[in-house]
């Protein structure tokens, strides 16, 4: 039977919503699942993790050095914790992508990046070429399988569990060669882009940071998160953490609005799992219309305010 270690991600002191999706992948693999949480104080996150369905145990790994997430200090501790586990799973977020390969290399195993489907304990689908070719890979079953999970491919497990919470200690000597300086976080009252049911994204056609106001306003009316194409981020209309696409965030909302976004392959890679895609663009030839469920050719500056008044 598999023994799975899920590395939980903590954002603002709480369990990141992605962990419940990693749990879905762990459940598909089957076996006993432990969630490990590293931080200086992980009490609140551990509480959240213990409630997820399918969790047997939550490990609190609290050390002063864990106050900031650093791959160089987290990886040796995770390597230590991984003893006796068949799988170590990370969310396919900036957090997991940064740390997982460092753990895999220390365990001398290849890593499976971005699991999008589970066929068995060691057989998985993963995307390559911006999602245009899906590989079914078999990992050597005799060694630990280290993997990241593509969150957009899984539905979060329900709450309702009540797993035991245990303190775990790690003895790894941690390097001091990497130091946290600062985090410039974009504070927002809007829903989190990666967890939102509805997302409104704007592209280059907005033309300025100021014009993006109509996107924010429409999103607020819908209770939606705001996203953007790479072009809009590169042009400085919005901060980088709003980028949706191959190298930005991969999302799977129920409803996605692509406004003034032409639909480059790299952007489409980030929205393929959206349930319903609505595209608004003045160019009838825009590739976004090839994959949109609803397309409207028109000037976004008149269409968006009109939509806002009618929804």
């Amino acid at each position: 039977m598999s023994k799975i270690l899920v590395i939980g991600e903590i954002s603002d002191g709480k369990l990141n919503a992605g962990t419940a999706k990693v749990m879905a992948a762990a459940t598909a693999i089957g076996g006993e699942v432990t969630i490990a949480l590293l931080g200086a104080d992980v009490a609140a996150a551990a509480e959240g993790a213990s409630k997820l369905a399918g969790v047997s145990k939550v490990l609190k790994v609290e050390r002063a050095e864990n106050a900031h997430i650093l791959a160089a200090t987290f990886a040796p501790q995770i390597v230590e914790l991984s003893k006796g586990y068949s799988h170590v799973l990370f969310p396919g977020t900036a957090f997991g992508k940064d740390i997982a390969p460092r753990v895999a290399a220390k365990l001398d195993v290849q890593q499976v990046s971005d699991i999008m489907a589970v066929h068995g304990a060691s057989s998985f689908d993963r995307p390559t070429y911006a999602g245009n070719a899906i590989l079914t890979v078999d990992a050597p079953a005799e060694s630990t399988i280290v993997a990241t999970v593509r969150l957009a491919s899984f539905t979060a497990v329900a709450e309702g569990g009540s797993a035991a919470i245990e303190a775990a200690s790690t003895s790894a000597v941690l390097p001091t060669h990497t130091r946290f300086v600062k985090l410039e976080a974009q504070k927002s009252e809007r829903p989190d882009l990666q967890a939102a049911n509805k997302v409104v994204s704007g592209g280059r056609a907005l033309g300025s940071a100021d014009a993006f106001k109509i996107i924010y306003s429409f999103a607020d009316k819908l209770g939606a998160a705001v996203g953007a194409s790479r072009a809009a981020v590169d042009s400085g209309y919005v901060p980088n953490d709003l980028q949706v696409g191959q190298t930005g965030k991969i999302i799977a909302p129920e409803l996605y609005f692509a406004i003034g976004i032409s639909g480059a392959i790299q952007h489409l890679a980030g929205i393929k799992d959206a349930r319903t895609i609505v595209a608004i663009n003045k160019d009838p030839e825009a590739p976004i219309f090839e994959i949109a469920d609803y397309g409207l050719v028109g000037d976004l500056f008149s269409v968006v305010p009109e939509m806002e008044s009618k929804v």
């Binding site: 911006a130 070719a133 953490d241 929804v311």
Partner: protein
């Protein structure tokens, strides 16, 4: 100060990827290849650091078959001083690549290793982190700003919450994200000059590297297609369609 930059030859980002009907891979015959765009950004950053006098030598390295020499020549045209070609055919997975690159980094006594955060073919996003792990060195992934000093490098990283800044003691590994810089267009004189720059071919064996056990690809398939939906003419039509589905 020496910088090592690894560059990978990949299917050009503009190519529409076709999966072979027998599920054995993607079509690469007659397809344009170029340097992985993230590695171009790493190359550009190294050259800018050299132009600022922070780096004295840039060594470009790649792993792969004979055709990868073109990619190294591109790196030399960017401004690398010399190139190392780890000549190995076949499927080289990230951990194996990382072992070879770590060996080259050590052998060259470089202080900074710049490489793209991921290659746009396998989209693995692993190699830089693995090199750092194998050498027990600091890493900063997804860099959008790099400030190099004599004994440390300060890196701003693109993370899910925003921008994070880390300070790393040298030597260090930095993987580059899209917004770090915009790579220059290569000029003909630089391309001509690159042909005369030194390029050394070595092997895994000479580096003392053996391939790590790999993932086996059982099959390659095309993703499920999204079908084209309906075009609506007015906002009213759109809003009522979305309302009918309970979406707004």
């Amino acid at each position: 100060m020496k910088a090592l930059v690894s560059v990978k030859r990949v299917v050009d980002y503009n190519v529409r990827i076709q999966v072979k009907p027998d599920g054995s891979g993607v079509v690469t015959d007659g397809v344009k290849f170029s340097m992985n765009p993230f590695d171009e950004i790493a190359m550009e950053e190294a050259v800018r650091l050299k132009e600022k006098g922070k780096i004295t030598e840039i060594i470009a390295v790649t792993i792969g078959g004979a055709k990868c020499e073109e990619t190294l020549r591109t790196a030399l045209a960017f401004g690398a001083d010399r190139a190392v070609h780890v000549k190995e055919e076949g499927d080289i997975q990230p951990l194996t690549a990382a072992k070879a690159l770590a060996a080259v980094f050590k052998k060259e006594g470089a202080n900074l290793f710049l490489l793209g955060k991921q290659a746009i073919d396998d989209d693995a996003n692993q190699t830089g982190q693995m090199v750092a792990a194998l050498l027990d060195l600091p890493q900063a992934t997804f860099a959008s700003k790099v400030e190099l000093e004599a004994a440390k490098v300060t890196v701003t990283r693109e993370v899910d919450a925003g921008l994070e800044t880390l300070e790393l003691d040298l030597p260090a590994i930095v993987t580059t994200d899209l917004r770090l810089n915009e790579p220059r267009y290569l000029k003909l004189p630089d391309i001509m000059k690159a042909k005369k720059k030194p390029l050394e071919a070595i092997s895994f064996e000479s580096l003392g590297v053996t391939a790590a056990a790999g993932l086996k690809t059982a099959k390659v398939s095309a993703p499920p297609k999204r079908s084209k939906g309906v075009m609506v003419k007015t906002v009213d039509e759109l809003v009522s369609a979305l309302k009918a589905k309970g979406l707004v």
